[in-house]
Symmetry: D2
Subunit: 344 residues, 4 copies
Amino acid sequence: MPRLAVGVVGASGYMGGELLRYLRNHLRMEVEVIVAGERAGHDAAEVLPNLTWLKGRTLAELRLDDLRGLDLVFLSLPHGQSGLLVPELTAQGVAVVDLAGDFRLKEPALYPVWYGFDHPAPGLLGSAVYGLPELYRKELEGARLVANPGCYATAILLALAPLGPRLEGRRVAVSAASGSSGAGRRAEPHLTLSHLEENFFPYRVGRHQHVPEVLQVLGEKVGAVGGLSFVPHLAPMARGIVATCIVDPAPEEEEDELREVYTDFYSSSPFVEVLPAGRWPEAKWVRGTNRAQVGLGRDPAGTLVVVVALDNLGKGGAGQAIQNANLALGLEEAEGLELEGLYP
Amino acid sequence: MPRLAVGVVGASGYMGGELLRYLRNHLRMEVEVIVAGERAGHDAAEVLPNLTWLKGRTLAELRLDDLRGLDLVFLSLPHGQSGLLVPELTAQGVAVVDLAGDFRLKEPALYPVWYGFDHPAPGLLGSAVYGLPELYRKELEGARLVANPGCYATAILLALAPLGPRLEGRRVAVSAASGSSGAGRRAEPHLTLSHLEENFFPYRVGRHQHVPEVLQVLGEKVGAVGGLSFVPHLAPMARGIVATCIVDPAPEEEEDELREVYTDFYSSSPFVEVLPAGRWPEAKWVRGTNRAQVGLGRDPAGTLVVVVALDNLGKGGAGQAIQNANLALGLEEAEGLELEGLYP
Amino acid sequence: MPRLAVGVVGASGYMGGELLRYLRNHLRMEVEVIVAGERAGHDAAEVLPNLTWLKGRTLAELRLDDLRGLDLVFLSLPHGQSGLLVPELTAQGVAVVDLAGDFRLKEPALYPVWYGFDHPAPGLLGSAVYGLPELYRKELEGARLVANPGCYATAILLALAPLGPRLEGRRVAVSAASGSSGAGRRAEPHLTLSHLEENFFPYRVGRHQHVPEVLQVLGEKVGAVGGLSFVPHLAPMARGIVATCIVDPAPEEEEDELREVYTDFYSSSPFVEVLPAGRWPEAKWVRGTNRAQVGLGRDPAGTLVVVVALDNLGKGGAGQAIQNANLALGLEEAEGLELEGLYP
Amino acid sequence: MPRLAVGVVGASGYMGGELLRYLRNHLRMEVEVIVAGERAGHDAAEVLPNLTWLKGRTLAELRLDDLRGLDLVFLSLPHGQSGLLVPELTAQGVAVVDLAGDFRLKEPALYPVWYGFDHPAPGLLGSAVYGLPELYRKELEGARLVANPGCYATAILLALAPLGPRLEGRRVAVSAASGSSGAGRRAEPHLTLSHLEENFFPYRVGRHQHVPEVLQVLGEKVGAVGGLSFVPHLAPMARGIVATCIVDPAPEEEEDELREVYTDFYSSSPFVEVLPAGRWPEAKWVRGTNRAQVGLGRDPAGTLVVVVALDNLGKGGAGQAIQNANLALGLEEAEGLELEGLYP
């Protein structure tokens, strides 16, 4: 079968590197262009020494002309940059999976509040499909512009979506722990091993930019919660997200029944695993994969606890982006993603 | 000034070792007996090579006769064992600080439910003082039997206590992350570095034994919450607890006013630090100390978030035990505890 | 093309799990039997939750009858056990790759000294091929019994082999650091995160069992060193080996020339990468792969320093075992091994 | 007893922070000035939140006038800066302990080669005392200018010094692993947790600036080695150095006799512990202390292996600086240093 031509823009970041790790094993996509602004001109395998298959490939500067003929482009840039590129790309018939937040929110007015910039192409927000296949699989088929979800948003939505109308009016308190790669390939004092080893701390309490996309999707696809609080934390690990959702009790719920609801909900989703009673998700079991583990239980007071573990660069990022691209291009959903987790 | 004679029972565990680390620098206590059941007969500095001051001291077997003349004994044994020793020790006039859960709960019927044993000395439960000095300082003066709080319970109570009646009827969702030393000096598969490195996972969801002591103390000293859910997690670090408490919104609250309430509440507590607006606790800033950091904020929806960081072996264990012993024996509250944290 | 039937014996260990991780992506091998003694009867994906492709596969007990018809068996058992199985397996025409030390040494008398047991099948030692493809590729073609090298031995031999006769009479001092997975899936006190985090220490100084196989191979294929000292260390990481070899100076050597020698030596070895001047190997760049990085330099006094990094479970174990099996069965050397490293 | 007035210059670095951690517990020194160039004007406890005793103290800019009346100043600045300050300080009668490399080497010509600058005060090099108390205790008494040794140099010298003339003509190969705090409080890509976790790699192979000071001291105090090679590595931990020295065999040596030599050599050195046969040093046993552990053994081929573990910020830096200051000022050698190690 012929391969489709794709490009990766933003290859020198962790997310871009992870896209290229997966794409080596993708039988239907051919990576034709690899863009890495500040490292342009270097050999890709020198900048990404873990990716030997890139030996001899040169990192390119960003030039729209080079992307013109491609079937699809993955944009993995800092928030605020893809909004400037997407109008031209889509106009030229190039499908786009955007890994930043630029097309996740429908409401332009939310961008200055949560992202700190005025959206440059508000007219395109309506046409972007939110790339959480477990909720938007239909919409993703043939999509031309996919907004890849935030890593935390993916975890929280996978935890809550099966509850549907059961969620109505209940408050949800979410605490999540993330590995340091979620902060990107930046060298900042709080990201050094000296600081982060043997450490654990919250950040952006109550004002993380993944909150509005969670609320938007809950509203569209699930049900109106009675409130959602979110506290992200940085944990002393490089990869992984574990989101723990504590949901107000509902007296009539039975744990076994709920587990069945979850299992049914994800029965045709190859990358989401609902764990049996008594087992809970662990970041390490899904490290390096596009998988998510979901565990749930009720505590003695009837509160519902749902925990999701995923790899922030996998199902929380690059893996999911490829899953979305597969759906958008009419390929097998799991193509290129059948790598197993690295343990230990 | 003459020194008081103390004993440490359970010296080969992490908590016992930490007691002895602090006690080296305690000017008013003399460690006369060091008991370590399974390592009895060995040189203490061989079993605890970080503690050079113990060179030449032999670890002893547990013999009540040896403890008889002491002023105070620290019991750091697995749950269920101190209940057997305490009646005789207190009968002989030895003050006891018990670091296990054996005397934390007032209601004997809770022991089989949460700890899995019938309490051997229910008659003593009423006389034990719960050793959280920030709430029970008065009761601790001259106390003969102190139940040292659980590490998570300490963190949660320090987070919630200043709210007092403001807590009435509000639900509280707590997620906490702990270092592996909280599980003690056991070699189990999930505690190996191979498994725990780059990992993060919940455990004992909704059934951790620190829940009933939190509810008991809230009832006695704070106010009746509308519900408390608690999910502990294991994080890839050796020491530290960070407890994140998400409290149902109360429309009238102001963050600045609350911060003042907290600051006032802890104004005479030398080991609790309320952080200014915009700063949040970190496990590493209090590592190796008897300190706790408290941070708080309200999210856009009005939910209150309170985060406490402490060292599970410090303020969450051995440090607090010494603080309690100081109060019980009429010494300076901070004696022996003025060590600074190890950073990085 | 038809697939060859293989078995994995010892699947519940780290090495067995890693074999199965690679084998999922092997197009020419079909895993027909998975043996895991103590976990027999359990679902494989429950014991190895990172390996979703094993869902529904039951772990089997060890029964020679079940292995009889296979083309090849990977034995990943504690030292001393495969010596008992191999005679019967090879007699039945099953090719064997043994990941333990049982067939690495040619001289039976060395087994009691270095491994603590008398070899049960000394007659087979001569027919076993030492499975370091970079040195024994010819001998491995069609081999019926392959002794997979030790993880440290692989690193040291890859570092020294290109020197050939240049090594004659020169002393070599090797220090190496290994991740904790090298010690296997055991829960021992020194392997807990509590102990190993923020720690680093030597072990088995001068008496590690990989020394005699290094000397044997140097004697057969390289040149007689003037002495070899080896000090292994445990580092606070789960995976990876970095071996640093310091070789007595040879006045006439030129670094550039040596680098060319190394590059030529490994020019047809797809899994060994010789780094350019000024770059040194890192454990993380090869994590999760069958690759080795080699770096070299001369210090101002003329001493030669050669450093090799590999993944102890990859090129130091399961990856190399599959590479050996490919050669023994006449398949492509790299089949199933083209996974890229996980970074970060 | 009256306290002596000291200053700490460079307080915002890890080493400066560690000096202040120890100095809290020093009964004979009063910290009168705390200089932290780029953080001047801030509250010290805000920049160093682990050091609560500094609350209310303001970090100062560097002004020689403020240091004039002090008894002693600790200089903890980047290499090349103390050379500019020391002439004036010593001229004013202020004793100096310099934690940088500026006064470690006697030979001015070595500075451009190893440190990259021409020495600004070569005339003072002769008067500086090398601050390794175990070798220079006599010279340190009353010293006015102490060059605090490099962290690696301390480890290597403690390993080799007791050998004395036994070392004559023998080659020594040293590999050492260091925690990331050795690189200082810089945020660089290779120091992030994302990069360094699960990693291990050599750096500055054969050209680390601690080599010349080791050779200088061996020449002055020990014996002329037949060659010294040194390969430092970065390990995924925040603190600690383990140096493994492999020394050419000497046929006549006996391990027990050597151990006695070492024990005798350090019999009056309170901070160096020679381990019994079969035990080896571990970074964690000395973490947070001014101690060093020394272990030794001979391998079957007669090679001598000596391993030293210390805390790079303790005996490898700030702890040793205080030990030197104590000797220089005529105080008890161990004053302020009697803290025990943090375990786990």
